[in-house]
């Protein structure tokens, strides 16, 4: 009951937001803090998703105080409402509540996207895929009900509900077996930055949450694990490529979201195919750490992009300042999987899991090697994409005269929080994973080891990494003092600088090298190089073909013919009946 009341607080915040913008965000902030405190129980694995979500909502609420004053009150009203849907999902113990939360989460998001630019397409795309996910969810719930006889979320003896509900989650995460990319970046990229952060961080996290929830309640079938690994691997590499070549910063972040979610999905797939209890418990920590890193970093990235005052690299108008730059730096290195941020730990642990599974040999070992390699490749490419945001979005070609605002403070605070999370991340590790090698000055308690069979894998504990960096930095400063530097003019072959390097040029090597995949075309009159998202293209072509077939059948057979229409109705009814009986 208490949980439901806390969820309703977000509804109150939505009402307040309709009256006063700042009041709405204040309500959202308070609700998020209370929700995190009420929901989180260290012993409960799934409650970590609530904690992660709360962190994101708190930062977004603070940021929103100074962001988007030109947006109407609809934004400060719709944003808490969509969060209310997510909160409902997180507290649900019943499938009906889950479905209700799923829809409450989607509909206000649709409104936010639709009202942002007053364009139909992004909102329609979002709603289309949201409803796809709802269809999968309802189908999974219906089947779960048919085998368990209850709508309560309980253990099941069949894997099919998990598969169907996972498809709902995958769709929300920007992945389905048939559509790897594009819709999520289009939808998330067309929302205001604070809403994009919520959609990209926590809405996709809901996908991970429902999948994990069903994974814990269902028999684990290796084929589903392999299916997740394949979808995850494909999504990682394509999302990373599209992120790298994207000129729209928000869409780039959207592709990065798919890449991160695909990594989490791969971890879930690995969890399913792994037989070792040690490895499984390690992977569970990976999923939480990676989800935390992705959600917080992605929030930081969207907020940093919001501070640029534009969506495309070429239309940045906002001033920058040192706070914002440091925050963006920490955010992007976290998303790049680098220390000393929580993202570094997440990526290391993820790759480590795949290494460990590779040691088990056999088919699953080969799968781990292949997907692990793809993952490493995707991470490298994603690093390139995020460096693009950092360099072209913040460090270069942008005036550094901006005043310190709540927006820049939030980005800075989020960056610091990523480091802080790393420093306390050791708390989520069971003691069996903590050790040390005193002989080489890694004292006991300062090393994470996987203790997997004969081959030990390990890394310095995050605290030790931060300690080493701090000690050596202080030592270097104590010895050498403030570094002396001199500024020299840029040498441009002896000429004045007349032009600047563009973000488009930065990623053009990939457009040219992967021209077969990206369908790169050279020589358009207005744009010298064009690329195509082959998955989006294939989907549009399929949709058009389907429409043509329907039109043909309608005109050729059913055109004003009541007889054919009756035959169609009877056939459709019978097929539905047969499928339903079979399922029951």
């Amino acid at each position: 009951m208490l949980q439901l009341l806390v969820v309703l607080l977000f509804g109150v915040a939505a009402i307040l937001g309709a009256l006063n913008r700042k009041l709405g965000y204040a309500g959202m902030l308070v609700s998020a803090v209370i929700f995190g405190l009420v929901q989180f129980t260290p012993a409960s694995y799934l409650s970590y998703f609530s904690l992660i979500s709360s962190f994101v909502w708190v930062f977004v609420a603070i940021y929103s105080f100074s962001y988007g004053e030109h947006y109407g009150k609809w934004l400060s009203s719709m944003l808490p409402l969509t969060i209310m849907g997510m909160a409902l999902i997180l507290i649900s113990t019943n499938y009906l509540v889950l479905i209700t939360g799923w829809e409450i989460m989607s509909v206000p998001s649709y409104v936010i996207i639709a009202l942002n630019k007053k364009e139909d397409m992004p909102a329609a795309v979002f709603m289309l895929f949201s409803e796809f996910s709802t269809v999968f969810l309802i189908a999974g719930v219906a089947y779960a009900y048919s085998i368990s006889g209850t709508l309560n979320i309980i253990a099941l003896n069949d894997y099919l509900p998990m598969l169907l509900i996972s498809l709902a989650g995958l769709t929300k995460m920007g992945m389905t077996p048939f559509m790897i990319s594009e819709w999520l970046p289009i939808a998330h990229g067309n929302a205001p930055a604070n809403a994009s952060a919520v959609l990209s961080s926590t809405m996709t996290l809901m996908g991970v949450f429902v999948i994990m929830r069903l994974v814990f309640l269902s028999p684990l079938v290796i084929y589903i694990g392999i299916f997740f690994l394949i979808i995850g691997g494909l999504s990682i590499i394509f999302a990373a490529i599209y992120a790298y070549i994207s000129e729209n910063m928000k869409m780039l972040a959207g592709f990065s979201t798919i890449e991160n979610n695909a990594s989490i999905l791969s971890a879930i797939g690995l969890y399913i195919i792994a037989f070792s209890p040690t490895l499984r418990s390690f992977i569970l920590i990976v999923i939480i750490i990676f989800s935390l890193a992705h959600s917080l970093s992605k929030t930081g990235l969207f907020l940093a992009i919001g501070n640029t005052g534009g969506e495309f690299f070429g239309e940045i108008t906002g001033f920058s300042n040192r706070w914002n730059n440091v925050g963006t730096f920490l955010t992007t290195i976290s998303l790049s999987g680098l220390f000393p941020t929580i993202g570094g730990l997440g990526v290391w642990m993820l790759l480590e899991s795949f290494f460990m599974e590779a040691y088990s040999g056999g088919f699953t070992g080969i799968m781990a090697i292949i997907v692990g390699s793809v993952l490493a490749l995707g991470e490298g490419m994603a690093t390139g994409a995020l460096l693009k945001v950092l360099s072209f979005g913040n460090l270069f070609h942008r005036s550094n005269r901006g005043r310190r605002s709540i927006g820049s403070f939030t980005v800075m605070a989020l960056g610091g929080f990523l480091v802080f999370m790393l420093s306390i991340s050791i708390l989520v590790f069971p003691s069996s994973f903590i050790s040390g090698i005193p002989g080489v000055l890694i004292f006991n308690g300062f090393m994470i080891t996987s203790k997997f069979g004969s081959a030990d894998f390990g890394v310095l504990s995050p605290d030790y990494i931060i300690l080493l960096i701090s000690v050596f930095s202080i030592l270097a400063y104590a010895i050498f003092r403030k570094p002396r530097h001199r500024t020299v003019p840029v040498w441009n072959g002896g000429r004045d600088i007349a032009d600047i390097y563009t973000s488009y040029a930065y990623s053009n090597n990939i457009r040219l090298m992967l021209r077969k995949i990206l369908r790169t075309r050279i020589g358009n009159q207005n744009q010298s190089i064009t690329v195509m998202d082959v998955f989006w293209y294939a989907m549009l072509r399929t949709g058009k073909a389907y429409k043509s077939v329907c039109k043909y059948i309608t005109l050729r057979f059913m055109n004003s013919s009541i007889g054919w229409y009756m035959i169609y109705m009877i056939a459709a009814f019978m097929i539905t009946l047969i499928i339903s009986v079979e399922l029951i």
Binding site: G493, G494, T502, Y504, S507, R511, L512, Q527, S528, I529
Partner: protein, 391 residues
């Protein structure tokens, strides 16, 4: 003028200097001094201009390139050869003094410049040269061609990081310079050529040259075995420009050669056919130059009558206008002089580099940055011949 006339365009376009548009058989006077010019290009969205040169690594001469690129791919290039523009005072000087300046315009092609200038003066003053002088000048020009082509082939090897063949060819080029030094007293033929005269000692040249050419043959065959090297040249910088000159033209299948169609220094009694390739790419230009090294050596071997030759200097006086065109290692090199009592009243020079730069600008479109150096070097363009203003 014996070989040229003013009037309608006739023959191949050689280039433009000031108000002269020079063809292989005529000179057209126009008012617009920039009638032969490059295409204007405007940036498209996503492109930026990458400034390369003039003062940077990888370039032998001071030349600036504005590369219009969306990244990696080159959509357009503007070549600016005027960063180190030299103003040379020639007008008002005596022919002998003018010759001292002319042969220093481009040291590497000193003999081509001095012979073209001297021939124009000879044309203006009606001076006939003997076959012996003509053959000696042919020998000198072919020797210069060998050295110039060796230099270009060497430079084509450098972007590939082929240090060994590059240095080996550099050594051979130096050996040719020493042959020239022994034959003329100067490594760059300075003061070896004059109006109606030539100083050259051809004794011992052929055996020394054979040794060089044999060594080059070995290196050349080695380069043709390297797939890495060939991959960088083949299909790189295809140039099908109708106004190409010299080896670049012959590499695109055009039978273009002043040795065939200019009366200035006639090759009519020399067994000689232009070396042609059809591919029109950097590889074809590399092949034409390499094969011409062997061909030039063959021409030198055929000039058995040339020995230690030192014709008497003649006094230059009188008035008139004359024009001459010779095949420099780069292509057609044109000189026009107008003399007044032995003093240069007007002098115009058209270098083949200008037309070849226009062709280079066309050829680079669609290539990527790593192709750039191979393509540029394969044209063998000499910026020093363009970045010069004669007054």
């Amino acid at each position: 003028m014996k070989w040229y006339k003013f009037g309608k365009p006739s023959g191949r376009l050689i280039g433009q200097v000031d108000e002269f548009i020079v063809h292989s058989d005529s000179i057209l006077e126009v008012e617009d001094s920039t009638a032969v010019k490059r295409v204007n290009y405007h940036k498209v969205p996503g492109e930026f201009v990458f400034a390369y040169g003039p003062s940077t690594g990888g370039l032998m001469e001071s030349v600036g390139f504005d590369l219009f690129t969306p990244g990696e791919l080159i959509n357009h290039v503007d070549v600016d050869p005027n960063f180190k523009k030299r103003t040379l005072q020639v007008k008002g000087k005596s022919v002998q003094d003018a010759l001292l300046v002319v042969e220093r315009i481009n040291g590497f092609h000193s003999v081509s410049n001095s012979i073209a200038f001297a021939s124009a003066v000879e044309d203006a003053l009606g001076i006939e040269i003997s076959d012996e002088i003509r053959h000696t000048r042919i020998l000198m020009m072919e020797l210069e061609r060998i050295r110039s082509h060796l230099e270009v082939v060497k430079r084509v090897c450098e972007p590939a990081g082929f240090g060994v063949p590059s240095n080996q060819i550099g050594y051979l080029r130096e050996e040719v310079s020493r042959i020239i030094s022994r034959a003329t007293g100067h490594r760059f033929f300075f003061s070896s050529n004059g109006v109606g005269t030539v100083h050259f000692n051809a004794n011992g040249i052929v055996p020394a040259l054979d040794k060089i050419v044999n060594e080059f043959d070995h290196i050349f065959r080695g380069l043709l075995q390297s797939k890495i090297f060939l991959n960088r040249l083949q299909n790189n910088g295809r140039a099908h420009h109708p106004n190409l000159l010299g080896p670049a033209a012959r590499a695109s299948g055009l039978s273009v050669d002043a040795r065939m169609d200019s009366g200035t220094i006639s090759y009519k009694d020399i067994d000689f056919n232009p070396v042609l390739q059809e591919e029109a790419d950097s590889f074809a230009r590399f092949m034409v130059r390499s094969r011409e090294i062997f061909q030039s050596a063959e021409i030198i071997r055929s000039l058995e009558n040339v020995g230690d030759f030192k014709s008497a200097d003649i006094s230059v006086s009188g008035s008139g206008e004359g024009a001459a065109r010779v095949e420099s290692p780069q292509g057609d090199l044109f000189y026009y002089v107008n003399l007044e009592d032995g003093v240069v009243e007007d002098l115009k020079m058209v270098s083949p580099s200008y037309m070849n730069i226009l062709a280079f600008e066309d050829s680079i479109v669609g290539n990527i940055f790593t192709d750039f150096h191979f393509n540029w070097e394969s044209f063998g363009i000499w910026v020093s011949e363009i970045g010069v203003e004669i007054r």
